[in-house]
Symmetry: C2
Amino acid sequence: MTGENGTRSGRRPGQSGTREAILDAARARFAEVGFDKASIRSIAGAAGVDPALVHHYFGTKQELLIAALHLPLDPDIIRARIAQVPDEALGEGIVRAVVGVWDTPVGTQAVAAIRTLLGGGDAALARHFLLEVALKDVRVRVDSPPGTGATRVMLAASQMVGLLVTRKILLIEPIASMPVDELAAMVGPNLQRYFTGDLPFS
Amino acid sequence: MTGENGTRSGRRPGQSGTREAILDAARARFAEVGFDKASIRSIAGAAGVDPALVHHYFGTKQELLIAALHLPLDPDIIRARIAQVPDEALGEGIVRAVVGVWDTPVGTQAVAAIRTLLGGGDAALARHFLLEVALKDVRVRVDSPPGTGATRVMLAASQMVGLLVTRKILLIEPIASMPVDELAAMVGPNLQRYFTGDLPFS
């Protein structure tokens, strides 16, 4: 994330235009082929810059994704927290970890980013972000019987997205003001069914 | 809904401006005091027209709400369907009734209306609509122990809103293409826990 502020600013006249061109190219490429298959080289090519400049401005590919989605924090922070939760407690653990972040000052930026996305943003970008970044570890953990992991995490995502909308966007009581512990006890068992329950897979 | 098309159109020069003024006043009033407390008289007053003109253009207060929210069908149609579902089958029944409507041609208009709302619309209007119109009957039915109905229906609403977003806005597979029967079997039991389950009320 160097080059945005500090001593380097102003050195290059077209700097902010170049940054925006890279972010636009990254969003388009991530949406088109997904996070895993998009290369820094292809993004740089689409933006008409040298790949080294992309690394110089944004660091790693994950850091570029964070900037492109206007995420206020690295999803790895939440993933690391969830990695410590045993499978049988994933439901409550994910409510606590995710809602805990939404409720912080940086969470309001995340909510704004998601609101933009729901209002007219790029759905393909959101899908790739959910499957390849945010929910990747959990999908592998709950893939039992084999092949069911994607369905399980997407059902859970549907509950978490709805919880975000009711708690942080529509501000519907009693969900909006419910303490995280209580919310985890209410919603956690439902997430747990999606993750490890005996779902009617056909 | 008379006056929009047909023989009457063009009779009054400022007609479409008047209609919009009434709709704006209705949205503001519904958001401010809710559907039940907002009177046609107060809405007409805010729009600077005679209450009879509001009835002439829009019919009943509920029809005015439908026009103000750009709903493509009367929520009473879904409510009537849900009224026939026994309490112990509400979870699956609501998934079937609601998703069934989303998946029809008129459903795409409902999805567009909700997308607008999530992207920057009036959250207060959405709250009042959910509590006083869409979920009113169910809230009364599941209010056991007494006083828990609002929490139960709002938890269920969080799941349904999230299902709408994943299925119809983000188009995330496998949820986007899942047949309604399968979706009802996957999600219904989770809704049912919210409606009639032993939730940890403090």
